[in-house]
Amino acid sequence: MAQFFTRTRFLYRLTSRGSLSGLTLIAVSAVVILEASRMPFGSTSQMGPGYFPTALGVILAVFGLVLLVEGWRTPEARVTPGPLGPPALLLTAIVAFAVLYEIVGGFIAIIVVTLIAAMAEPGRKMVEWLLLPLAICFGIWLIFGLALDLQFKFLPPGLMR
């Protein structure tokens, strides 16, 4: 994969950090301008909802072009993402919370989140796997349940009256 991007000079320049930043900004500006064009533009003295976003979109496109040129000229600066597995696990943990919380309540959701998140950094002892989720549950209950008395459901909905 990495070799593919460095095979030709064109691709090498196009995938430098600056070029990718520029392209990202240009894409964002395109979305902004497109969406703003669906709203009334108005005039300078009586601005409609589309006026300001359109102006911002144009400015953003200019910045994007500048970065693209910069990245084209100095392609040595690369993007170095590192291993993708650990961040993906953390994102999974968050989705798991969003899905599980309303079904099984806070405690179980927190335990699942902690276990998935803990997998992102391997080499743990058994004690840690057991104690970390429990310690975190206890801490969260202490802060959010006992001290702040929030409307946070810790137990599964079926168990509550």
Partner: protein, 500 residues
């Protein structure tokens, strides 16, 4: 004035406010000490808690995190050469050298004393000048406020480290995200894509936690080198020699002056102040030949500067409603959420809050001095917590915090989205703080821009016809020219180095 200070002291010393001040500075100190979690992440993590307390207590606590982190940030800089906060990065240079020379205790002591003196001078300046500035600002109209915000945003973006274009682009992206939701003038929904939850705009807490808390963990995980403090710091090892004290004292005063000035400007914060102070010490300290090799001035000056800047940064935020950096922007956002509108009228309409906050700064700085000298060993031991235990806790705190503001799963997905955006931005070296600055100020920038031009019937001349607005415009041009000039000089020097 005396009446106001007494009023403030009554507020700050009430049991509840005192406890929130204590909580704020403790959390600030804690996250300041730990490298990898900045004050931004901590303030956004604690924002949800403030929804349940009075606005004054909330702001006292959040402010405490901010200046508490300035104190704590230097601990990891000195002991591990890993800055706990951006504004203490420069302290690594001489602070860590002092640790290697066996003077870690002295470095920590000097840094605590410098922080306290710098902070105190900053508070004095704030007490004296904030009311005057708000008097002047009462005469500001929409064009002046628009120019002031433009100055703040442009100065913050161009004067910070890194590429000015990247920061400016992120300010613009921030403004776009800031105007998501219902446009009050026309009643149109903008950029909501049919999501009713976005009517009030993007959640400030979810975006700040995603961009600073979550993305931080996402980029650190799997490639974090675990460095652990080994230096032992006893109380006795902290006492500086008479020469060290004599060398440090003038540096503290110079640093405080520099910090107070940069903090009070809209758009410049404590990071710029500490770097500038280091540059000045490099030229004027008695031990300048020793700079970078463990000179006490290299710790004393920048530490005084970043703490005085952390206090005077409240001047533009509270009196003008224009924050100097992203942390201030977040505080501003928190005040707006609590129904307090910072601006020229705040000192007269909310005297309890304003003067209570000022007096809580004294209290907080005093507590921090105690934390940093007799209790320093406690904080040093925090540096022994391994990251693999820390990050699951951070993730869960972020999740529960975001969810519990509105009991909304939608906000958890917003958090997720901003976490991914922040992670990609880090990969592309696009800075996140300017984005938050733009996000908070966005709606106000648009409102003042619209109002100015409808006042002038569409003529842009309104921005140059009014004297204050014209002055601000000239300042903006000055900042841009200064920045391009400095970039040019740097480019030439780099060219020279390449040739030789």
């Amino acid at each position: 004035m005396i009446d106001n200070l007494i009023l403030g002291a009554q507020v700050a010393l009430s049991t509840q406010t005192f406890l929130f001040c204590l909580l704020g500075v403790s959390v600030g100190m804690f996250i300041g000490v730990l490298p990898g979690i900045g004050p931004m992440a901590a303030i956004s993590m604690l924002l949800p808690l403030t929804y349940y307390v009075s606005p004054t207590d909330a702001i006292v606590m959040l402010a405490g995190i901010y200046y508490g982190a300035q104190y704590g940030g230097s601990v990891a800089s000195i002991l591990l050469r890993m800055p706990g906060t951006a504004s203490s990065a420069v302290v690594c240079l001489d602070g860590y050298e002092m640790t290697r020379n066996g003077r870690a205790g002295v470095a920590l002591f000097i840094s605590a004393v410098a922080s306290f003196i710098g902070g105190s001078i900053g508070i004095l300046i704030m007490t004296g000048f904030a009311p005057q500035i708000s008097q002047i600002a009462l005469r500001f109209g929409s064009p002046e406020f628009f120019m002031l915000m433009a100055l703040g945003l442009i100065a913050a973006a161009t004067l910070s480290e890194g590429s000015a274009i990247r920061s400016l682009a992120m300010v613009v992206v921030g403004i776009v995200i800031g105007i998501v939701g219902l446009d009050l003038t026309s009643g149109t929904m903008r950029f909501t894509y049919g999501q009713m939850e976005l009517m009030d705009g993007v959640s400030l807490v979810a975006s700040a936690m995603g961009l600073f808390g979550l993305s931080e963990v996402l980029s650190n995980i799997g490639r974090k080198e675990n460095r652990i403090a080994t230096a032992k710091v006893s109380f006795r090892s902290m006492i500086p020699t008479r020469t060290e004290f004599r060398d440090a004292f003038p540096a503290i005063l110079r640093g405080s002056a520099i910090g107070s000035f940069f903090g009070a400007l809209p758009g410049t914060g404590s990071t710029i102040a500490s770097f500038f102070s280091y540059a000045v010490e490099n030229k004027s300290a008695r031990n300048r030949k020793n700079m970078g090799k463990g000179a006490v001035e290299g710790v004393a000056g920048p530490e005084a500067a970043n703490n005085s800047a952390a206090q005077t940064a409240f001047i533009p935020t509270l009196t003008l409603g224009v924050p100097g950096d992203a942390v201030m922007a977040l505080l501003l956002g928190a005040m707006i959420v609590h129904g307090v509108a910072p601006g020229p009228r705040m000192i007269t309409t909310e005297p309890e809050m304003f003067w209570g906050l000022v007096m809580s700064f004294w209290l907080g700085n005093f507590i921090l001095l105690i934390f940093n000298i007799p209790l320093i060993g406690l904080w040093v031991s925090m540096l022994r917590i391994p990251y693999r235990l820390l990050y699951p806790m951070i993730i869960v705190l972020i999740l529960i915090g975001t969810y519990s503001i509105r009991n909304s799963v939608f906000d958890v997905y917003q958090l997720l989205a901003f976490g991914v955006v922040g992670w990609v931005m880090r990969l592309l070296a696009l800075p996140a703080p300017p984005l938050v600055l733009g996000l908070v100020l966005g709606p106000m920038v648009e409102e003042n821009f619209r109002r100015s031009l409808s006042l002038s019937d569409g003529s842009f001349a309104i921005f140059v016809e009014r004297p204050i607005s014209l002055t601000l415009l000239l300042l903006i041009i000055g900042v841009v020219l200064l920045q391009s000039g400095m970039a040019l000089i740097q480019a030439r020097q780099a060219l020279k180095r390449d040739r030789s």
